[in-house]
């Protein structure tokens, strides 16, 4: 019998919790990625469900564990933020014929439930627990790590799928209605594109610290360059061309000061990780990458886990900065390391501009608030002393919110290929979502550095 557990208790959202009690006792040992597409091509075998299965199988194989050892799955049921199945459109018969279904025929097509996965992965004979975490892989992976730390699981799969149907993104759902109810009527109805709040924050950032948008260019160029060295990523697979400074400086505004290249591009894919105990990890195929700690921004009220609520309709720059700085303090408290120990950072970059807030919040490479853009003018490449976003992030790999975790693990395992950084990658951090709602992980090549 499979028991469903809540992920809400898994997250460290408060300061003062002390060292993470499972420091060095949990490790990542397997990575699995499906191919990428810009949009689903209609083939049942490339549906988000099919590709989640593929990613899980690859992670299991990468780790070298028997599938029957997997005792827990953690996932995010949602597989898109803005691509909707057309209303009234029937689910394709060939998709229904290709897979075992749950009561929801959209399962495996525009969403992903643990039940659907278990129905279609008969090799997972020993799963005892399933858990759903919101938003993205950073929450999913953190919950999986905590579950293994607590002893709930010894061999845990963390999986996230992203579907992207033909048609325009963010054009359906609420945006397609004539009216908006719920709190969105105070913000969404007026604001516009998804990057609006980040753009607004960055506008103030430029004013506050006397910086310019142009100063972001090296970060974007660096991210795409790194992404082109990520064979699992979309750009490397389908459109392997770099972004130039000229491209970035002349890109059209989506929501000034966020331009087209500050916004990530939705793709269709899935990714999975296998997390286990440090003890178990010693006998597996890949070099273990230990978790020293995790923490993030968020609020827990009962069993409800949300982002940090802003005072107004939209989070201000100062609120974003406070959240990011608090996350940095919490993460270092949990992991028992400090900023100077972090050799690389793989913070989320879905809207490139808030990567600045994350980086400053962590004090990476000694960067303080207001200094990140100056820092971008230095060597932030994988060849330099302070690799920034060595994964390339979403800008380099397409919109998944998980390339940063893959790269962090691969860097420490020395299997990042062309992306392997010049410095010895021993300790790094990865995570996301946005400053107001996040989970970050500190990874290490040894359990007790």
């Amino acid at each position: 019998m499979v028991t469903s557990l809540s992920s809400t208790p898994m997250f460290r959202t408060e300061e003062g919790l002390g060292r993470w009690p499972y420091r060095g006792k949990v490790a990542a040992v397997g990575i699995g990625h499906a191919p990428t597409l810009r949009r689903w091509d209609g083939d049942p075998q490339t549906s988000v469900g099919a590709w989640a299965i593929l990613a899980i199988r690859k992670a299991i194989e990468d780790a070298g564990v028997p599938p029957g050892d997997v005792d827990m799955i953690v996932l995010d049921r949602e597989t898109s933020t803005g691509s909707h199945w057309p209303q009234g459109e029937p689910v394709p018969e060939d998709f229904l014929a290709a897979f075992e279904q749950t009561d929801d025929l959209q399962d495996g097509l525009s969403k992903l439930s643990p039940e659907w996965l278990l129905k279609n992965m008969p090799e997972l004979t020993n799963v005892k627990y399933v858990m759903e975490a919101p938003v993205c892989m950073s929450m999913v992976l953190t919950a999986a790590i905590e579950a293994v730390g607590r002893g709930t699981s010894t061999t845990c799969i963390a999986v996230k799928g992203w579907h992207n149907f033909p048609g325009r993104y963010y054009q359906g759902g609420t945006n397609a209605t004539d009216t908006i109810d719920n709190p969105g009527k105070y913000g969404l109805a007026w604001a516009g594109p998804a990057s609006y709040s980040t753009a607004m924050q960055f506008e103030r950032y430029m004013h506050k610290y006397d910086k310019s948008h142009d100063m972001m260019a090296p970060f974007i160029v660096n991210s795409r360059n790194n992404g082109l060295k990520l064979p699992e990523g979309y750009w490397a697979q389908h459109r392997p061309l770099p972004i130039t400074v000229d491209d970035y400086l002349n890109s059209r505004w989506i929501c000034e000061p966020a331009n087209l290249l500050d916004n990530d591009m939705p793709i269709h894919t899935a990714g999975a990780y296998l997390i286990t105990t440090a003890e178990r990890a010693q006998d597996l195929k890949q070099k273990p990458v230990y978790v020293l700690g995790h923490a993030g921004a968020g609020e827990v009220h009962g069993d409800v886990y949300t982002g940090v609520r802003s005072r107004g309709i939209i989070e201000t720059l100062e609120e974003a900065e406070r959240s990011a700085a608090a996350t940095g303090r919490k993460l270092y408290e949990a992991s028992g390391v400090s900023a100077k120990d972090i050799q690389f950072e793989n913070a989320y970059d879905g809207f490139t501009l808030f990567h600045v807030f994350h980086l400053e919040g962590f004090g990476f490479a000694g960067v303080k608030q207001g200094e990140a853009l100056d820092f971008f003018q230095t060597d932030i490449s994988i060849s330099g002393p302070n690799p920034v976003s060595p994964s390339g992030g979403n800008i380099g790999g397409g919109r998944t919110r998980f390339w940063m975790h893959t790269d962090s693990i691969q860097q420490i395992q020395r299997r990042a290929g062309a992306r392997q950084m010049s410095i010895e990658a021993e300790i790094g951090l990865s995570g996301g979502f946005m400053p107001f709602w996040s989970n970050f992980i500190v990874w290490s090549s040894s359990p007790n550095p």
Binding site: R38, R39, P166, R168, H238, R239, L241, P242, I243, T244, D246, D247, N250, S251, R252, L260
Partner: protein, 122 residues
């Protein structure tokens, strides 16, 4: 017709318009070649980067006259002296950029249905 000036400048959006786009559109590279054989100036105006557009045309073996960022089409008007400037695209954004730059605009689907090979020769 003046031997030194093309009558038409035709700008194609790529994704959703040309067969080389993602999603592929209905207009083929042969359409572009046919237009060029008529003496038109032919290229693309897209959200894809300049290098991506140039690479696309080169990979298709087509000798393009220009590539342009979609929101900078007014530069084509100042660069090429033509009788008519036409942009073909599949979104309202294409329309807005084209009209804002002083172009005529045709939606991909509607013009393709009328005449797939020479849609601008009305």
């Amino acid at each position: 017709m003046s031997s030194s000036r093309a009558l038409f400048l035709v700008s194609f959006d790529i994704d959703g318009t040309l067969e080389t786009g993602d999603p592929p559109g209905p207009f083929t590279i042969e359409t572009a070649r046919h237009a060029k054989s008529l003496g038109f100036l032919v290229g693309s105006s897209s959200d894809r980067t300049i290098l991506e557009q140039e690479t696309m045309w080169r990979n298709a073996g087509f000798d393009f006259d220009f590539v342009c960022r979609k929101h900078e089409m007014e530069f084509l008007v100042s660069r090429f002296e033509c009788d008519r400037y036409v942009h073909i695209g599949d979104t309202n954004h294409d329309r807005d950029c084209a009209i804002g730059a002083g172009f005529e605009f045709e939606f991909t689907d509607s013009i393709f249905e009328r005449n797939p090979m020479s849609p601008w020769m009305i």
